[in-house]
């Protein structure tokens, strides 16, 4: 985008452009946004570098000893110094397992939203730009898809796949199933909003001039209309990532997502739930807190972004 700007003066760097923009200004003035961003970056970076940070490898059965199970975190008496946040029911170091779990949760959340965005934006652009029968058919499909709760669709789809393939095969490909089902179920969120902005943008002169210049519909949609529809897309994306992480956790909690041998935050909470009555609250509580904080900061960032960009979101 920046290469297309016709600016005779010296081109400021991309970073200083962002820094001095409206968004950058309001970000600097908003302590909640700064705090949320900082927390999010800390979680994201430590999750990304989990293999370097984590003292143990939770996927390596050789490093796990069942005799180490259910040690409490360091501030509770009876803790072992080598397990700072205690151990889970299988004797894995909780801190390492949480790092790896957060990594999986974030990965699934972001990939699922990328898939949603890709499907939704393409469908929304086509529906809005082409119009007519195609538009009404696609939007009716979006209505119907949206009328079924994502969680319900995901639960049924994953339950049937699990029963069909057996849990061995299912567990092996669980990441892909989760991304696919969360990704496909939520495309209308994007499609409706993108379509609405396309309808508004389509009437403007710059689109007409692009058409007169002889550009094809594909180029006009992607290079001219899409950049002008980005602010609602940003706002939706943050909320959707938070929702996708919650959905993934819920599905894993039900045993329809990541297996206990390769746990995401949801499956960790689920395996800890069986031990909550025997007093081992930390297996559930600590991953639970990480999950809530992660989702909360993403939601706070989303709120801030909505206030700043203030796009006209599609109201259902």
């Amino acid at each position: 985008m920046s290469t297309e700007t016709v600016n005779p003066r010296t081109e400021p760097s991309r970073w200083s452009k962002i820094w001095n923009s409206n968004m950058g200004y309001s970000f600097r003035k908003n302590p909640v946004a700064i705090f949320s961003m900082a927390v999010f970056l800390i979680i994201a970076v430590s999750a990304f570098f989990a293999p370097l940070i984590a003292p143990y490898d939770p996927y390596d059965p050789a490093s796990i000893d069942i005799m180490n199970s259910e040690y409490p975190p360091f501030w509770v008496s009876g803790a072992l110094p080598e397990f700072s946040l205690g151990t889970d029911d299988q004797g894995r170091d909780l801190w390492s397992t949480i790092l790896y779990g957060t990594r999986l949760s974030l990965l699934i959340g972001i990939c699922a939203v990328a898939l949603q965005a890709f499907l939704g934006i393409s469908i929304g652009l086509i529906a809005g730009y082409v119009g007519g029968r195609v538009d009404s058919l696609l939007m009716r499909l979006a209505d119907i898809q949206l009328s079924f709760s994502t969680l319900m669709v995901a639960i049924i789809f994953l339950a049937v796949t699990q029963a069909m393939f057996g849990s061995e095969t299912f567990n092996q490909y669980a990441v892909y199933f989760l991304i696919a089902v969360i990704g496909v179920a939520e495309w209308p969120q994007y499609a409706r909003t993108v379509r609405a902005t396309v309808l508004a943008e389509k009437k403007k002169e710059y689109v007409d001039s692009a058409r007169v210049l002889g550009f094809g519909p594909g180029r006009i949609m992607v290079r001219h209309i899409l950049p002008n529809s980005l602010s609602p897309i940003f706002v939706i994306s943050t909320v959707q990532v938070a929702n996708a992480i919650i959905s993934e956790a819920s599905l894993s909690f039900l045993g329809l997502g990541m297996p206990p041998s390769q746990p995401s935050l949801g499956s960790l909470i689920s395996s800890g739930f069986d031990y909550i009555f025997s007093g081992s609250w930390w297996i559930t509580a600590i991953p639970g807190i990480v999950l809530v904080v992660l989702v909360l900061v993403i939601n706070l960032l989303g709120d801030w972004m909505r206030d700043v960009l203030n796009p006209k979101l599609y109201k259902g």
Binding site: S149, I156, A163, M164, L254
Partner: protein, 326 residues
């Protein structure tokens, strides 16, 4: 309006058709009904003969038509595990789930309207900020985690509420046994209802707040204020009435969504409802029950959405024009 009604009902039927095809496809590919019927010990010949008798060798179309015909008459197959008609199994569990949804709905309506209106009237007060802050935290906590926290605090630590099951229920009629008749039943339903309500409550507070704030900017509210009408009357009578339309539409759709979330709350509280039953059926690969659940839940979704759309169309005539034009 009539054309809209016909269109909407036609769409509902089309969606039910697609759901039934999916259900049928699952039935055909998941598990082997013959093995459930006779076990492994039967020779290949008798097996083939049985397959013929059961109609498992018929074409896809004939099999589907038979499936759809039976489904329309309320026959969704027999559960492998319960050895009972699958629909009966589900109908027995349905009241437990519906009561849970009802309890949650009462909590949501009872809390979201006053809180939403208050935060809209006094957006800058400290209490409003606290409510809005709590609501974003509420959105960020998954239902199952709220449920676990509640069990840990109120059942394990304090022992105020029981942590699982329905407790004492009183039969009302047919399969319907109610929780709302005994003190024990009330004690059992309170935690699950609050857990289920926890996910929707923040959404509704925020929705009512934003709609209310929009309405409060409108001319007629300003006029009513200028006339000197009691503010309480303006807020709760004039303004709230116009806020409720979008709230009801969103609410109707969310009832369907709540059915999905009952699976989570029911699992945590071991509430003997439909969702809990469904997960058990999945673990047992009880195909007829899985398919029956899919069709019943699909039906609930389609019916609530159709009714909500129709109500919306009735109350708000502009919808017709917009939809017709599209």
């Amino acid at each position: 309006m009539f054309a809209y009604l016909v269109k909407r009902v036609f769409q509902a039927i089309a969606v039910m058709f697609v759901i039934s095809v999916i259900g049928f496809a699952i039935q055909g590919n998941l598990g082997d009904p013959l093995r459930e019927l006779v076990g492994q010990s039967v020779s290949e010949e008798t097996r083939q003969q049985l397959r013929d008798e059961l109609g498992l060798n018929d074409s896809f179309m004939t099999q589907y038509l038979r499936f759809a015909g039976n489904a329309l008459q309320g026959d969704l197959g027999t559960s492998y595990f319960f050895k009972e008609p699958a629909l009966d199994v589900i109908l027995k569990k349905l009241p437990a789930t519906l009561e849970l949804v009802m309890g949650a709905t009462i909590i949501i309506i009872g809390l979201s309207v006053p809180l939403g209106v208050y935060t809209a009237i006094k957006p800058d007060s400290i209490l409003s900020r606290i409510i809005m802050g709590l609501s974003i935290i509420g959105i960020s906590i998954p239902v199952f985690l709220t449920a676990i926290m509640m069990i840990y605090v109120f059942s394990v630590e304090y022992g105020w509420f029981p942590s699982y099951g329905r407790g004492d229920t009183v039969p009302v009629f047919g399969y319907w046994e109610t929780n709302f008749a005994t003190a024990d039943g009330w004690m059992h339903i309170i935690l699950p209802s609050f857990a289920l309500a926890s996910i929707m409550l923040p959404l509704f507070i925020r929705l009512i707040r934003s709609e209310m704030m929009e309405v409060l900017q409108s001319e007629y509210v300003k006029f009513a204020k200028a006339k000197g009408i009691n503010p309480r009357r303006i807020y709760f009578l004039h303004a709230l009435k116009n806020t409720l339309l979008p709230v009801i539409t969103v609410g109707g759709v969310q009832i369907g969504t709540m059915v999905a979330y009952t699976i989570l709350t029911e699992t945590v509280f071991q509430w003997p409802g439909m969702g809990f039953m469904f997960l058990e059926a999945v673990n047992r690969v009880d195909t007829p029950l899985i398919v029956a659940y899919l069709i019943v839940v699909g039906f609930i979704f389609v019916v609530t959405n159709t009714i909500v759309d129709l109500i919306y169309g009735l109350v708000n005539p502009t919808v017709n024009i917009a939809r017709m034009g599209a």
